[in-house]
Amino acid sequence: MLSAIEPTTSWYLILSAVLFGIGTVGVLVRRNPLVMFMCIELMLNAVNLSFVALATQLSNINGQVAVFFVMVVAAAEVVVGLGIIVSIMRRRTNATADDLSGLRG
């Protein structure tokens, strides 16, 4: 009875929408730049999940290729982002995103 229900592609897409929403709220609410960065990773993963779900639905491998490239770019992005965070935090420890207003006129 319960096993008769199969999760369709829409379920995965809705789950990825929820995950994207949680990531968005996290980026907007949290003040620690490291945690904001983790929330960006959540949003990237939500998009990856929808790519894979649609690749299966449309029987097209290019969705999975896109996920592969997103992962590579995410790795590069994390390296650069954490480098920036390290060089900021070295100057002032425990800086939050609100303290980084040095460019304000």
């Binding site: 829409s10 929820v18 609410v29 620690n32 491998i61 999975q64 590069a76 390296v79 650069v80 060089s87």
Partner: protein, 179 residues
Amino acid sequence: MELVVFVLAAAMVLGGALGVVTRANPVHAAMSLVLTLFGIAVMFVSHNAHFLAAVQVIVYAGAIVVLFLFVIMLLGVDESEDLSIEPISKQRPLAFILGGGLMCIIIAAVVTGRKNFASGGGALESATLESPDSNIRLLARSIFSTNVFAFEITSVLLLVAVVGTVVMARRIKSLGTGK
């Protein structure tokens, strides 16, 4: 069976995501992120994307989260932050409205457009059922033939990222000495 896998993996994903947003300690947030990433990897496996599931575990849970933890420990910010501070007034309600609204818009688009998901010819489906490693073969053929230019460009991107990080994070000792 697939329903059970979906429900368990969805619980992992959503629980981990809520943990990332709500935990005060950055180390706990990173651990919650691992939970989410494993849940996504389980979903990749249930979609027969075995290579991507392996890469998800190795690159995301292995490399990226370890990098996060390394930076947290290096900077010594592994203490809980006070979550009750709200720097801009009404920031949180606005953030919830914005994030929730975005979520509702995407869900509405999915629900109204789900009839338009034309099922393809089933080439991927039959190929993945043929032999267990045919997903990897299909993926490799696409990456190294159709998308080979993008693949080469990503190698340049990684090199630029590594060099840029080294230049940025290095301490410059002899600045201004004229050497």
